[in-house]
């Protein structure tokens, strides 16, 4: 094979990394380069430096160290049996690329993952070397997200978390059965116990940091994971229950859902079709409802046929339509928990309503200034001067409120 140039490697190894949905650079400890030898800072919420035509944010340089891989996960473009072009960066190449991009303000930092070469420990060791070089040799203070190799040794994982702002391990698929079928070399058990160990250490380090600012960092932006949606036959209910377990057990900052997307050289075992983008979107909405709106997964999924979310309306509206008896809700009286259940009201609007109504009775016009649209919302609320008519009980309410069907597939 002819020697690849670094530019060709960049092409191959960023192409190989694009199926990982996460690109967040948020939630870490704030730092800057004042008094340092290198560049870099972090801000609370992170910055998206560009957007690709797939609508996804580009915040980090998201690449693989190598796409050579000894594992044969059927959904993965880099599986050992794929005919994809292979490449491997040197540690120095990744470091130089990160710094060059960073200094031009293209990125917030690096998101580095890798195919498994030689052994989990060897691979993890190489990833750590990149982070170590950036942090120690170059005093780089930007964001680093490292993908962990689940069966790597504790010592390497600890070192990774010392240099990284966030670490993550992908659960890949919602059930152990699917994982076994599609990712035969990956052990669900290893993934879970690695997440468990991380949770303990992240909590421990955060508690230490409370006591002393000098305590060493340990993945200050926590851990996250990703599940592929649509590669196996898991229902939305299964996926969301799994997420609830993951949030509950391991305190994950995020569970990313990634609609299974056709890859250039795909396996016969998988559906060759458009990625289920709307399904992915609904899962994110449902995930949000459980994290910020006080919904339990069971409530979101009750009466959902086949354990699948309704694709035509968002899950909050779907819940409200199933529980019309609880509406309309009086925005001048209802408690926060109930306000959060009103379709069309976000967490910010709810806080503003609560602040405002201490001083005045809200009219429909007041509410209208706090939200993007009253179209759906007005059917579910009572204000000082407004009460929805009989439509709320009408059978056609869903048809009336659902967004007009859109052609979501490619033209």
């Amino acid at each position: 094979m002819a020697q690849l140039t670094t530019l060709q490697k960049l092409e191959i190894l960023s192409d190989a990394a694009k199926y990982d949905a996460s690109c967040a650079s948020s939630g870490t400890a704030e730092r800057n380069s004042v008094g340092g030898k290198g560049v870099g800072s972090t801000t609370g919420s992170g910055i998206c430096h560009s957007y690709a035509p797939d609508g996804r944010c580009i915040s980090l340089l998201k690449i693989l160290l190598t796409n050579f891989c000894s594992y044969d996960c059927v959904f993965c473009i880099n599986r050992s049996s794929s005919n994809v072009r292979r490449a491997r960066f040197s540690v120095e190449e990744v470091v130089a690329l990160t710094l060059n991009f960073y200094k031009r303000n293209y990125i917030e930092g690096l998101f580095l993952s890798s195919g498994i070469i030689r052994s989990p420990d060897y691979t993890m060791g190489e990833l750590v070397r990149v982070a170590e070089s950036l942090r120690l040799e170059h005093d780089f203070r930007g964001y680093i997200h490292l993908k962990l190799i689940p069966s790597a040794s504790q010592d390497l994982i600890d070192r990774a978390a010392l240099f990284a702002d966030r670490v993550s391990i992908n659960v890949e698929l919602p059930s152990e059965t699917s994982l076994k079928r599609f990712a035969p070399e990956k052990q669900a058990l290893d993934i879970r116990s690695a997440m468990g160990g991380l949770k303990l250490r992240i909590d421990e380090a955060a508690a230490e940091r409370e006591r002393s600012k000098r305590a060493p960092a340990f993945s200050p932006a926590g851990q996250s994971t990703q599940m592929i949606v649509g590669a196996d036959d898991a229902s939305d209910a299964t996926i969301l229950q799994r997420s609830a377990q993951l949030y509950g057990a391991y305190g994950l900052r995020r569970v990313y859902y990634s609609a299974f997307s056709p890859i250039p050289d795909s396996s016969k075992q998988l559906p060759l079709s458009e990625p289920p983008l709307m399904r992915e979107h609904r899962l994110y909405q449902a995930d949000w409802l459980t994290r910020f709106y006080g919904f339990e997964v069971d409530e979101i999924m009750d009466a959902a046929p086949g354990g699948m979310l309704d694709l035509s309306v968002d899950p909050k509206l779907a819940w409200a339509l199933r529980h019309r008896g609880r509406f309309p809700v009086d925005v001048n009286r209802a408690e926060r928990e109930l306000l959060l259940r009103i379709p069309g009201l976000g967490t910010r609007s709810v806080e503003r309503i609560l602040a405002m109504r201490r001083f005045r009775r809200l009219r429909l016009e007041d509410v209208g200034r706090l939200v993007r649209s009253l179209r759906v919302l007005r059917q579910f609320i009572v204000t000082a001067d407004w009460r929805p008519g009989a439509t709320l009980d009408g059978e056609r309410l869903k048809a009336q409120l659902a967004p007009k069907p859109q052609q979501l597939v490619l033209l």
């Binding site: 530019l7 960049l10 092409e11 191959i12 960023s14 990394a17 694009k18 800057n32 380069s33 004042v34 340092g36 560049v39 870099g40 800072s41 998206c48 430096h49 560009s50 957007y51 690709a52 035509p53 797939d54 609508g55 996804r56 580009i58 340089l61 998201k62 000894s70 044969d72 050992s80 049996s81 005919n83 991009f101 200094k103 031009r104 303000n105 293209y106 070399e185 052990q187 879970r192 468990g196 160990g197 949770k199 377990q245 509950g248 391991y250 609609a259 997307s261 056709p262 050289d265 795909s266 458009e274 990625p275 983008l277 405002m356 201490r358 005045r360 016009e365 007041d366 706090l370 490619l410």
Partner: protein, 483 residues
Amino acid sequence: MFVARLSHPADFEGWRGFARRFAQALVAPSAIDWRVGDHDTGLFGEDVVEGGEGRGLSVPRAFITLAQQVICHSDPARFDLLYRLLWRLQEERELLQIASDHDVHRAEALARSVRRDMHKMTAFVRFREVDDGEGGEAFVAWFDPEHHILEKVAPFFVERFTTMRWTILTPRGTLLWDVRELKLGEAATRAQAPTSDAMEEWWRTYYASIFNPARLKPKAMKAEMPVKYWRNLPEAELISPLIADATRRTQEMIMSAPTSPQKRRPAASTPDPAAPDLSAIESWEEAASAARSCRRCDLWCDATQTVFGEGSRSAPVVFVGEQPGDQEDLAGTPFVGPAGKVFDRAMAEAGLDRTQAYVTNAVKHFKFQLRGKRRIHEKPNAGEVKACRFWLDLELGFVKPQLVVALGATALKALTGHAGSLASARGRELALPDGTPLLATVHPSYLLRLPDEQAKESETKRFITDLKHVGSLAPGLRLPRAA
């Protein structure tokens, strides 16, 4: 008409000075003409306000923050709006809470727009490397902000690129950082900025490769990266061709038949964990390893991992608890959570060496109820205890202790089938079917749950007494100094 003349478009301190004097002199909002710079003097050039009888002027802190943002907006009416808010705030103390109020709503919209402009500037500035004449690195960028945000956004660039020499040129002024000091320079034109950078080819390669053509969503992209910024972004020239080609590429991926692998790579060897041969277990190590993939009951589904026993393989005493808790489940080790800490302290108080003991649980997976984000301990049922007895028997068989201690009712039931209360068995010298002596006491988590401090103290003492009894039956467990 009063004229208030500010020195520059985002002159908050100037505005504040005027506003304070006007408001104290009770000058109504409609009577002030706010201007920036020292151009034409209007017809009514009287910007001198005498003190008047004055009034105490105060505003909520949130107003200052809001005003500092609003003042950066390019809307000429911003000074007037802020003064009107200040004026109204003197009577309507809670005005800022009324988010739907016309003035508040407008001010918040302006502030939001300013924050967004600042954020987009931090995102979309693209530095280009230039020769600094001394062989060092220096960078120059061109940017066209919508509002007067330059000074407000400058600290971001200083703190991020402290060790770099850089210049940001804008039509509203120039930021210059020489590694030590920030200077504000004259307005600039695009023509003064460099036109290329060698890394841009690399950045475009990255941009094109990270895009997934099967997920085309150009509207979502444009919402976050409005077209007005594209002129400044080296990657933007790729957007149209990438979109134009996406459909073809996706269809190609879907239509192309799966290919057969180039060559057979040896699959990484992994033992199948689901079916270890349980009849062939010949050592503690084999038992511990086989237990990792135990499916004898359903508790493995939601738990993280099997928490097998731990400690000396030749321990004189085996302590058996109920089941691992949250921390034990995460760590994979028994008795490391809050109850484990109580146990450790009590052992030390009783003069016993925990490292010489073997600790385990009747049930090896954590059983819990998920409530929101918390996992609440749930008692294992008889079937689960029975299923797990298999492992407990193996552990006892390999360790062969002189004494077994049941911590709590579940352990007692698992070991002896004793269905009565723990109290009736506590303190008595019992035995397992094979004759191994058995003592029963409370589970340390019981001590944690006692709400009454006094009861907690006396029960802890009783627990320690029980442990001392253990020490007298198994002297090998005593700490050297206590021996």
